[in-house]
């Protein structure tokens, strides 16, 4: 629905700038490659009809552990612009661009975002093993604004004739994100800070938590392949019982067993699935970035109300 308003906005911007007739039958759309599904969606939003986006890590796929194929290298080589997240989220992307012999521009979508450190949070200050910056910056919608601005600037550089359109699209989308952020803020503020506590299976919601004052407790580290200690799991169970936390969530790509068992032992039931690093398929609850953020916030709010 919001997409349609956006399109109308974009179209009117096109018509207003007098480019519409010229662009409608202009050359091929510009090929752009995005490293993972969320960036792919943002590029589509900003680029509209003028770009053809190829997304490397598909919906529901773990972009941390993505293995590119020759098909992907070909897509990168044929692209005019390569959009990556940065903050060491996709270590394979630079290697891929190099081995494919990609000579074009690379946009780091998280450029200018204030990075968050992973360590010393969620009540486990002795956990210094993740003292690196958290790459999941898009989980704060205001960082999403920064993302679309960076993407718009990158697209404008690669395709100067469309600069005005990219700017307009980015501005319209940024407004939607800000509106969404304001809504989310009111919803979270209605819940007392002591009750804003949730358990998730994957420590990827740091930016979201920092923005809305939520305490996130996770039995695993930031990377999906670390294994928790018995002490950590025991502390979590005690904390869930002591603070009567009812909001337990799974995340769309990790092993569900640990969090299922943990919540069973603590006597709570697992709530809906949250989306952190990848969108869902188009039929799922989080097919676009904005829908993903809305889905996550709705689920978190209704979960916290039970606390």
């Amino acid at each position: 629905m919001k997409r349609t308003t956006l399109k109308i906005f974009a179209l009117s911007a096109l018509a207003a700038s007098g480019l519409f007739a010229a662009q409608a039958n202009a050359a091929e759309p510009m090929p752009v490659v995005a490293s993972f599904s969320i960036l792919g969606d943002l590029v589509k939003v900003v680029g509209g009809e003028r770009v053809a986006v190829t997304t490397l890590a598909r919906p529901n796929a773990d972009a941390h552990e993505f293995t590119p194929s020759p098909e992907h290298a070909k897509a990168v080589l044929g692209a005019k612009l390569f959009v990556v997240n940065g903050l060491s989220f996709e270590p394979w992307a630079q290697k891929l661009a190099q081995s494919a012999g990609y000579k074009g521009e690379t946009v780091v979508a998280s450029k200018g975002v204030q990075p968050r450190q992973m360590a010393a949070e969620a009540g486990y200050p002795n956990d210094t093993s993740h003292a690196e910056s958290d790459p999941h910056a898009w989980q704060n919608p205001l960082n999403g604004v920064q993302y679309v601005n960076n993407i718009a600037a990158g697209l404008a550089k690669a395709d100067p004739s469309g600069a005005a359109i990219y700017q307009a699209n980015a501005a319209a989308y940024a407004q939607q994100l800000k509106d969404f952020d304001a809504q989310a803020k009111t919803q979270f503020d209605a819940i007392t800070p002591a009750k804003r506590k949730v358990i998730t299976s994957h420590d990827a919601f740091g930016y979201l938590a920092a923005r809305y004052g939520i305490t996130m407790l996770a039995p695993e580290g930031v990377s999906t392949d670390s294994e928790p200690s018995a002490k950590h799991v025991a502390q979590l169970i005690r904390q869930i019982k002591r603070e009567k936390i009812k909001a337990v969530f799974m995340e769309n790509m990790s092993n569900p067993k640990l969090i299922e068992q943990l919540s069973k032992d603590a006597g709570v039931s697992v709530g809906a699935t949250l989306y952190s690093d990848a969108l869902s398929e188009t039929s799922g609850p989080a097919p676009t970035y904005l829908k993903m953020m809305q889905h996550n916030v709705t689920q978190l709010v209704s979960g916290m109300r039970l606390n």
Binding site: T67, S229, N255, K257
Partner: protein
């Protein structure tokens, strides 16, 4: 005195009494210790110590087929894994019988083929999900199903090992004699080998799914290797291996609880410490061998 006892209780029994996940991890580990460690002893005797590692890759095509047919369903993926593991081990066994290749060489060839097939199937599917990461469990995430699976497999495999014992020992130490006596009595010597491999595969896949690769392979092989250093008699080796695996499991879980270390690696680390101690002080280890040497020369 009573406070010392109380502390001892808190340190050793308390964690298991308070937390169900600790109890489940303990039971799953002990079940694996009883059934897998003796199988490991036979594997070391047959020079197939690396079978476990090979199988952890060999299950991939089966897991991929299970995923293609039934989506993200753990039972389907696990069943596919068992079938793939059985096929790889079975074909490797047949090849080693029928050709000049030794069992380990034919196994290496088969598991690499299986791994390549699995990776191809998964990328054809277009999904970049790490299927093995989703399927393979961890020591602290043992659920009721997993517990039943490991305990069931352990019970069946202990009974089966008892039934197979005689033939398996003969087949391991003197396959020529077994083949000759089987030929005269009309028996089938390959039955022992194939049933044994089947037991190993089922134990490993149950272990992968419930406790993870490292735990399953580690508890099967490390205690078995150190048990070899302590005894010459096979029966004693089997018991010793199970006992070491059980001790490592209990100690590892407690250490992981008290010192905030990841459980699976800690348990295997404890088995490793037992192995190092065995290397040094066991009858077959370094110290006694060094001390004994002059007598042997004389």
């Amino acid at each position: 005195m009573s406070t010392t006892l109380q502390t001892l209780w808190d340190v050793t029994v308390g964690p298991f009494a308070e937390f169900a996940f600790m109890r489940r991890a303990l039971v799953a580990t002990l079940a694996l210790a009883i059934s897998a460690a003796p199988l490991g002893v036979f594997l070391t005797l047959r020079r197939m110590s690396l079978l476990g590692d090979a199988l952890s890759h060999a299950v991939l095509p089966g897991v991929a087929v299970g995923f293609m047919l039934a989506g993200l369903s753990l039972p389907a993926m696990a069943l596919g894994g068992v079938v793939a593991g059985l096929l790889v081990a079975g074909i490797a066994g047949v090849v080693s019988r029928a050709t000049a290749l030794k069992e380990d060489a034919s196994l290496a060839a088969m598991y690499l083929l299986a791994l390549a097939l699995g990776v191809t199937l998964i990328s054809r599917q277009g999904s970049q999900l790490d299927l093995l990461h989703i399927l393979f469990g961890s020591a602290l995430g043992v659920d009721e199903q997993g517990l039943l699976l490991v305990a069931g497999v352990a019970s069946v495999s202990v009974l089966a090992l008892a039934a197979l014992y005689r033939g398996l020992v003969l087949e391991t130490f003197d396959p020529v004699f077994l083949a000759a006596s089987a030929a005269s009595s009309g028996g089938r010597p390959w039955v022992w080998q194939q049933s044994f491999l089947m037991l190993v595969v089922v134990n490993l896949v149950a272990g992968f799914q419930t406790l993870g690769t490292l735990m399953a392979v580690g508890l099967m092989m490390l205690p078995a290797v150190s048990a070899r250093l302590w005894h010459d008699s096979l029966a004693a080796q089997l018991l010793n291996a199970s006992a070491q695996a059980a001790v490592a499991g209990v100690a590892g879980l407690l250490l992981s609880y008290h010192f905030d270390t990841p459980s699976g690696p800690t348990i295997i680390g404890c088995a490793g410490v037992l192995y190092l101690v065995s290397l040094l002080v066991s009858p077959g280890g370094w110290l006694p061998q060094t001390l004994k040497r002059p007598h042997r020369v004389g």
